[in-house]
């Protein structure tokens, strides 16, 4: 018996620059290469080729000054000691980062206020809810006031309220400190709420770098037109009026190119007895979800 090996490039030809203070969303399906990229950016793994520079440092050298400037938060992993209250781990972090007791107390008070953490900090981590734990993890990761935040699924598994609170906290933190944030999330709400700019990575390649709405128009170059008619009509009647998506009795769904939309809508109103008409952009999360499911790019 022999073990077979195959080399797989997790990330290839990915190149981008992020300005100080930017909040950037990092999108991609499972296995697309986003976590690998994030690990390279924070210095956890060595790139086999290429160059990474963060705040003037090469991350893989893990220079102590570089480590003091960054933080990595992983939604499913924790640095807090499971059997002790978060406060004990916070004290260790304060000592490791050389923060004086006075400054540490002030920062803990400030951050716990923003995160709405109180007596949870003095209860063993194992007795906290997932949301409380995640907030305490964030506090531990931000105690040294990093300039660059790498957040990998920071809201994973949280309920809707807890997700919203973490999002709000991250937005506040960015505003108050001017920190640069690179965020991966499966929840589009995280990205749409926090990140004016998104990077989309697919099979190790960078597919999109720019505003989210431009990604939407790139992924869905057609608008959705939904019609409700007075009487059923055969499919052939819609020839030349965009692409027929579905036809059920009196309900019709069409896809129309943006530049033809006005003319097509005018013709539809002219030719058919229309009871209702809607023009929509497909939701971005649906588009990206479709994209990931179909693996098409």
């Amino acid at each position: 018996m022999r073990r077979r090996h195959r080399d797989v490039s997790a990330v290839r030809d990915v190149s981008f620059t992020i300005a100080p203070g930017e909040m950037v969303g990092f999108l991609g399906a499972n296995g697309a290469g986003k976590t690998t990229t994030l690990k390279m950016l924070c210095g956890l793994i060595y790139p086999s080729s290429g160059r990474v520079v963060i705040a003037g440092y090469q991350p893989q050298q893990r220079h102590p000054d570089f480590l003091r400037r960054i933080t990595l938060v992983m939604g499913q992993k924790q640095q807090l000691l499971w059997d002790l209250p978060p406060m004990d781990s916070l004290r260790v972090n304060a000592a490791v980062y050389g923060i004086s007791d006075r400054d540490a107390n002030r920062r803990i008070a400030e951050l716990s206020d923003l995160l709405e953490l109180g007596e949870e900090l003095t209860r063993p981590v194992r007795k906290l809810s997932l949301g409380q734990r995640m907030k305490a993890e964030l506090l531990a990761a931000l105690l040294h006031q990093p300039e660059v935040l790498f957040l990998d699924e920071p809201t994973l598994g949280l309920d809707v309220n807890a997700q919203a609170k973490v999002r709000q906290f991250l937005a506040d933190y960015n505003r108050r400190t001017g920190a640069t944030v690179l965020l991966t999330s499966h929840y589009m709400a995280d990205i749409t709420a926090l990140c004016p700019r998104v990077l989309l990575i697919h099979q190790g390649h960078l597919f999109h770098d720019g505003p989210l709405d431009r990604l939407a128009s790139r992924l869905a170059p057609e608008r959705h037109v939904r019609l409700e008619l007075d009487e059923p009509v055969v499919a052939e009647a819609f020839a030349g009026l965009g692409r027929l998506d579905s036809l059920h009795d009196r309900e019709v769904n069409l896809r129309v190119k943006p530049q033809e939309l006005t003319a097509v809508v005018a013709q539809l109103l002219d030719r058919f007895a229309v009871r209702d008409l809607e023009v929509n952009d497909p939701p971005i999360d649906q588009l990206i979800g479709d994209l990931f499911r179909q693996g098409r790019l």
């Binding site: 956890l44 933080t71 640095q79 002790l84 260790v92 490791v96």
Partner: protein
């Protein structure tokens, strides 16, 4: 001044935290302390054996040797490879690697915290031993006690570095603890846990002395039991092993971290 990221304040906070952490496991640690009674089993076997005279120790000296071996083992036992392997495989190592403190210090602190937790259990077992064998009771002089403490601490350092060397192989093999189990066999035979080194044939003894194992139990135990031992040679060899192993650990660690794939993270 920081040594691989460590300064006095970090050491103090880490030790306090890890002691509190280990107190949460005190019941488990009591069981570990109880499970380390192999030297007492060996003592009873040797006491009932005709081969006892070959050990070169009389009854009381043998009692004291095995009690000392037990105590030295209690305060020099190292299990970091298992913790490290778990941390490396589950991704818990990743946040440690991203802090300006060498991750090995955390494992050192865990062990020291655990050793502090063991003190009352080890003392209780020693007390029970003296109740059963009152003629074996002795109190080492302060000087001897301090020397034994130093020898035990150096034994712990050697054992820790040996395991760190194996643990660093996790960066390549993922299941390095299997190697540790392999190392446990020569340790068991050559360290002095089963029999004092004087019981071995001269050739085996000479070979054993070229390994670090006798300096993990036999040497510190003899110092504590106030038995004739070449202190200068013993400490010098312990120091040499530390000076040999430390750069090896640091080199292997540096090479290994380059291969780290942050699994599970």
């Amino acid at each position: 001044m920081r040594i691989f990221g460590l300064n006095r304040k970090i050491l103090r906070v880490l030790l306090g935290t890890e002691y509190a952490h280990m107190l949460e496991y005190r019941a488990e640690i009591a069981l570990w302390a109880l499970s380390g009674v192999l030297p007492f089993i060996m003592l009873s076997l040797w006491n009932g054996s005709d081969a006892r005279s070959a050990l070169g120790m009389d009854g009381v000296a043998l009692d004291r040797y095995f009690l000392s071996a037990y105590l030295v083992r209690q305060f020099s036992v190292v299990w970091m490879v298992y913790d490290f392997e778990d941390d490396a495989l589950t991704g818990r190592l990743s946040p440690y690697l991203l802090q300006p403190l060498h991750p090995l210090w955390r494992y050192v602190a865990r062990h020291l915290g655990e050793q502090l937790t063991r003190v009352p259990f080890a003392a209780a077992i020693a007390a029970v031993f003296f109740l059963i064998q009152p003629e074996a009771f002795w109190l080492p002089s302060i000087g001897r006690f301090l020397l034994a403490w130093l020898a035990t601490w150096m034994a712990f350092t050697i054992a820790f570095l040996l395991q760190s060397l194996i643990a660093a192989l996790c960066f390549w093999s993922e299941r390095a603890s299997a190697l540790e189990r392999l190392l446990f066999i020569p340790f068991l035979f050559l360290s002095g846990l089963l029999a004092p080194l004087t019981a071995f044939p001269p050739l085996v003894r000479t070979l054993a002395e070229w390994t670090p194992f006798p300096y993990l139990i036999d040497f510190p135990a003899r110092v504590l039991a106030e038995q004739p031992v070449n202190l200068l040679a013993g400490f010098a060899i312990q120091l040499i092993w530390i000076l040999v192993l430390l750069p090896l650990v640091l080199l292997l660690w540096r090479a290994g971290v380059r291969r780290y794939s942050a699994m599970g993270a």
